[in-house]
Symmetry: C2
Subunit: 347 residues, 2 copies
DNA sequence: TTGAAAGCGATACCAG
DNA sequence: CTGGTATCGCTTTCAA
């Protein structure tokens, strides 16, 4: 194979299809055919065009191409990216899922409702991306209507929606499993540390986990103890101070279930600060199974974060390939991973 | 302010500038002027156009706009994204730096030389992005030449280059500081756990930190001990097994300096597995100060990861704004953060 | 202040 | 097989 020149032959503006055509002494259309691998081009002609392309270091303008084709070959990913480690892991999965495809990825970080609006606004035109992947947030119907009008397929990861394909895990069940495990260990005073209530479009998962927690308690015939359900942000530090309050209660919990591993780390930290031994005096369960969890020996509910992203990408790719768009919710399995942060109630 | 309709009025294709013009009974150019806020449009005319825009739920096609303007308003970020936590943190900084700008961000993940080539290839055309930010890797000259020809400004974060603006930290100095600290604590048998040698384009930092380590030893008049400098991948697990070997040596080190916090965590884990107490029997120093470091009490060399990204974005934005492109290397400060993983040599 | 028309750089249909 | 040419949707002279 011929090596590309180390440096573009001419400076100045990049070569266009017209330049190549002129150079090769053929028409525009022929160059286009060669570039796109169409069959109907005579051998020698093709050779000449190829040579011209090489000499001019020509590469097609993707913008022009997009305008003409009405496709962009990019997939937009809208995600509250910097809020949590789990989002990063999901994006990793998405990248992996897109790896072998011709699609590139445009990341759009969404931290506020305003940013979210902007995101769907820009993708809603249909000329920014061919498809959309929304992570951990559900687009408002007004924005969905626009996507639909623009014929942009959209799949949700870690968020539910009745009329879109979704990849989720059963957070309610996860919360219940974690809590029941604690109950089985003999714990009765079990507290919960989660996120603030969702602001209409995201972080529904924490709420669902709370529900699972409450359900498990109810099934065990336990009353919900006032003051045992606390809410803060995703940050470790906030979770830590919440946990400190909890542990200083006249009747402190003997176990704490946190809605995420990040928050569980904050709980562990609080325990350490207060000289409370884990798991002897306090059991802690997290959620997600992020990297740090295995390191510190945190018992947690593992969620296939990476896989959720990969699968979401896969579904979108199928839709883009024209396969029937199955509007259904796929629920990925959860798994309780028992490590060193939990043990039987001792007092 | 008039509320946007909840749902686009007509289904079918999105409105174009021609549609708006027709609807408002004006020429294309006038609509364009209104959209772009040009001054020379009569009040009533503007009103009519605005009304038409609202009714049709018109929004300009960015592709067409790009083609015409020859700008994309996107900034490409090329980064070995999923290799390390530190890369994520840098990207966070970049996003923050771009927040207030009109630029969007296209992320391109690069894990292999091949992917890297593809990345620079696609951005090299100049129609994908207006500017480029490369993190932790230095683009080969052939690719740089193309960027230059296409007039795409490029700034490097965490990578050095003589002819590009760069934001780096002094890894050699950092390695030296860490090692000297260990020496000052009385340690003499100090091992190093780092990355494999860089593959010509990235991960230079680990090598530089090694150099700092060796320099500190040399300045202290210590011989480099064979078998004390080990290399693996960025992963915690690999670092752990390397550390285990080290600690099983007939003459094991009393301190280990790891080229990253992730690797340092692996070292701590190895110590724990072998029942070696930290810091009493083994001191450990990392590099980066990632989130988990403070959690586990790891002594480390803090690097302003977030800030490096933010600053890189700032420099690029300046270049894009036409300000003189200062080709110089900015070195961000490092800081030794002492926590619980280090202590005086006891034996 | 406004409109007509010429690009921007491809694709693809339609003749030849 | 191959070459014109219309088209994609917008910006921007250039005249009116």
């Amino acid at each position: 194979m011929e090596a590309l020149p180390d440096t573009p032959p001419k400076s100045g503006q990049p070569a266009t299809i017209a330049g190549v055509a002129a150079r090769a002494g053929v028409g525009l259309a022929t160059v286009s055919r060669v570039v796109n691998g169409h069959p109907n081009v005579a051998g020698p002609t093709r050779e000449r065009v190829l040579a011209a392309i090489l000499e001019l270091d020509y590469r097609p303008s993707s913008v022009a191409r997009n305008l003409s084709l009405r496709r962009t070959f990019v997939i937009g990913v809208v995600v509250p990216f910097f809020t949590s480690d789990s989002a990063v892991e999901r994006v990793r999965g998405i990248v992996a899922g897109l790896e072998a495809s011709p699609y590139d990825l445009a990341l759009f970080d969404v931290e506020s409702p305003d940013r979210r609006r902007r995101a769907f606004d820009m993708f809603g035109r249909g000329d920014r991306a061919d498809g959309l992947l929304a992570v951990s947030l559900v687009p408002p119907d007004a924005e969905l209507a626009r996507l639909e009008a623009a014929q942009i397929p959209c799949v949700l990861v870690d968020a539910p929606h009745p009329s879109l394909p979704c990849v989720v895990s059963d957070d309610v069940a996860g919360g219940e499993v974690a809590t029941r495990y604690l109950l089985d260990l003999g714990h009765r005073r079990i507290a919960f540390v989660g996120d603030k209530p969702p602001d209409r479009f995201r972080f529904r998962s924490s709420r669902d986990r709370t529900e699972g927690y409450l359900r498990a308690l109810a099934r065990a015939g336990l009353e919900r103890q006032p003051g045992y359900v606390r809410q803060g942000t995703q940050s470790r530090h906030v979770a830590r101070s919440i946990a400190e309050e909890l542990l200083r209660l006249p009747e402190p919990p003997t176990a704490i279930f946190a809605a995420s591993d990040t928050q569980a780390l904050g709980v562990l930290e609080a325990a350490r600060d207060l000289g409370i031994r884990v798991p002897d005096e306090l059991s802690v369960v997290g959620f997600d199974d992020i990297e740090a969890a295995s390191y510190v020996g945190l018992t947690t509910v593992r969620q296939p974060l990476f896989e959720s992203g990969r699968r979401g990408a896969e579904l979108l790719l199928q839709a883009l390939a024209g396969e029937p768009f199955a509007v259904r919710t796929e629920t990925l399995p959860l798994e309780l991973v028992v490590r060193r942060s939990t043990g039987p109630r001792k007092r």
